[in-house]
């Protein structure tokens, strides 16, 4: 390597500024479709379809999409369905995953590694491979179009992820603290409550947020098993695509409403999100 190619202080600063400018340009281009959609949601339908701006901006389309015609899926129904399914499934996931993570991290069972890899291997199984039996039995047991079936399936989707993620947060709890609690004779529940959970709390919150995001955005199961009145937000967004007349502004408003909750959740969880997405392999 030649010494001469090393950069001086001034050149380094120039590079730093250049990188910053480039990052800003690239970042703004990348989110342009989203920004444009939010912008469109405030336009009139005429302006939206023509991609112009002659009639000003207003919240009119947001009121339009929240008053639906009778017989179609309303925002209120879809939102309630999504909220119930997402919240209940996430709570049960945490209830199941916390003790499981304890048994895999803090007092690990024999062959804990096999169990951990079993959990994650279920994520590799294509959904289409199990959808027919689920559909057939859901029909047999009258579960089509209910909250129950979606809650049951969303728990299964998120549980492996939650076990991996919470386990990796539990691994960070200092051993000495747990051992001290054990010597003091603190019961398992109290150990969890007073020693482990306070330290792992931010990680558990991030895990919950990630589960919320995946359940909120889920479309395949909701489409197959929960059409009509019990359907969730993704299907409500689609009902705003009309075959007659202009709909782009209303669709944009609906998309914004449907995505805002999880985008905020994702922003809140972003620091720890990578661990969940990489199944706990990365920090």
């Amino acid at each position: 390597m030649k010494r001469g190619t090393r950069l001086g202080i001034g050149e380094r600063r120039a590079v730093a500024v250049g990188v910053g400018v480039l990052a800003w340009v690239v970042g703004l281009i990348w989110i342009f479709p989203i920004a444009w959609t939010v912008f469109t949601s405030f336009k009139t339908e005429q302006d939206a379809s023509a991609q112009t701006l002659h009639h000003g901006l207003s919240f009119g389309r947001y009121t339009d999409v929240s008053h639906s015609t009778t017989g179609t899926l309303s925002l209120q129904t879809a939102f309630t369905n999504s909220l119930v399914v997402v919240v209940v499934s996430t709570l049960i996931v945490l209830l199941l995953a916390l003790p499981a993570a304890y048994a895999l991290a803090i007092r690990p069972i024999h062959k804990w590694r096999d169990v951990l890899f079993f959990f994650i291997s279920t994520k590799f199984l294509p959904v289409v491979a199990s959808i027919f039996p689920i559909y057939v039995y859901a029909e047999k047991w009258n579960l089509i179009g209910t909250w129950t079936i979606l809650i049951v399936l969303y728990i299964a989707i998120n549980l492996p992820l939650a076990v991996w993620m919470i386990r990796s947060f539990f691994m960070e709890v200092p051993r000495e603290l747990i051992e001290a609690a054990e010597i003091d004779g603190t019961s398992l529940i109290n150990q969890l409550r007073s020693v482990i959970l306070p330290i792992a709390a931010p990680g558990i919150a991030a895990t919950a947020l990630l589960c919320v995001i995946f359940a909120w955005n889920e479309y395949f199961y909701a489409l197959q098993l929960n059409f009509a009145n019990a359907s969730t937000m993704p299907q409500w967004v689609i009902t705003n695509v009309s075959t007659r007349g202009n709909f782009l502004a209303k669709l944009s408003a609906a998309s914004t409403i449907a995505c805002l909750p999880v985008v905020l959740a994702g922003w809140a969880a972003q620091k720890r999100m990578i661990r969940g997405l990489s199944m706990g392999a990365l920090k």
Partner: protein, 311 residues
């Protein structure tokens, strides 16, 4: 209570190992049993269906009794030209989307690894497409960008005096890959950023002192370090992208060039065909392919995992 707990711990330590082992396993069991029941049992039933001619009774005019047909469904799967086409589409879609999002994501990660004004904000903005509902992401691109009626791209082409392009109908695969890359690049960026930031700084500094160039450091130190992160990103990305369904359903609704394997299996069954027996056989074939990818994925994951323990 604490005396009882101490007694329990004591007995757990010196008492019979069997009860102690089960007390350790107990917290794990609910999650484990749930996962087995919901993910493994239906899969076993699918294997059973794949050897029968099961159809949806309510959907056929003349319901046939369900009976065993041996490996007929599998023979049919391998002789079905549409199934072969769907496999080919799946391969193209997955490889293109994974490679492109990985390349762009790495470039973004390199930019974001440096300090600049508003880095946190740009990072936050960049991950946003990944957080959108896949359905919404596909709709945004379909209606807002690609549409030949009111799409922005069409307006730009017209403004430049160029001919309109029917993006989705003429280039269904390209359109889908665009959306997938747009959504998955942030995911790859986060993985590669984690890789870049886990790089030991002392070695880089030593190389700097020794007079290595920036490019040299990147090629000789950074790239080898990033290799496993690239592998991880590629494999995790493939696992999700190979199952892509939402974007296809919203953007093209299937059709030549954009029907991947999951979508084809769906069309053959609950999406209209209602041939559960045959569709199950198709699905089992997909599972066998997935197991091959998953084996590699798990190997990479477990190697990263052992490093973490050593650290």
């Amino acid at each position: 209570m604490s005396a009882a707990a101490a007694d329990l711990t004591l007995r757990g330590r010196v008492g019979d190992p069997f009860s102690s082992a089960w007390r350790r396993r107990l917290p794990l069991l609910p999650a484990l049993l749930y996962t087995v029941a919901i993910t493994q049992l239906p899969f076993l039933v699918s294997i059973y269906y794949s050897f029968t001619n099961l159809k949806d009774k309510t959907q056929s005019l003349i319901p046939e009794p369900t009976k065993f047909v041996g490996i007929d469904n599998y023979k049919q799967a391998f002789s079905d030209p549409f199934f072969r086409q769907a496999i080919w589409t799946s391969v193209k879609m997955t490889v293109l989307a994974v490679v492109l999002s990985l390349v762009i994501g790495t470039a973004f990660a390199i930019l974001l690894d440096r300090k600049f004004l508003g880095r946190g904000l740009i990072r936050t903005l960049l991950i946003t497409p990944f957080l959108l509902m896949p359905v919404v992401a596909a709709l945004i691109w379909k209606q807002q960008m690609f549409s030949s009626l009111f799409g922005l791209l069409d307006k730009v082409l017209t403004f430049l005096g160029l001919n309109s392009v029917a993006f989705i109908s003429d280039h269904p695969l390209g359109s889908l890959v665009t959306v997938l890359v747009w959504q998955w690049t942030p995911f790859m960026m986060l993985i590669m950023l984690a890789g870049l930031q886990s790089q030991p700084t002392d070695i880089i500094e030593a190389a700097n002192v020794d007079g290595a160039t920036a490019l040299g450091i990147f090629r000789q130190l950074t790239l080898p370090h990033l290799r496993r992160y690239l592998e991880l990103g590629a494999l995790l990305g493939s696992i999700y992208i190979v199952q892509a369904f939402d974007a296809i359903d919203v953007m093209t609704g299937g059709g030549p060039g954009s029907t991947n394997v999951p979508y084809y299996v769906y069309q053959q069954s609950i999406g209209g065909g209602f041939r559960y027996g045959a569709a199950s056989a198709y699905a089992i074939v997909v599972v066998i392919f997935s197991i091959v990818i998953a084996t590699f994925a798990l190997r990479v994951l477990s190697s990263l995992f052992k490093d973490e323990e050593r650290a």
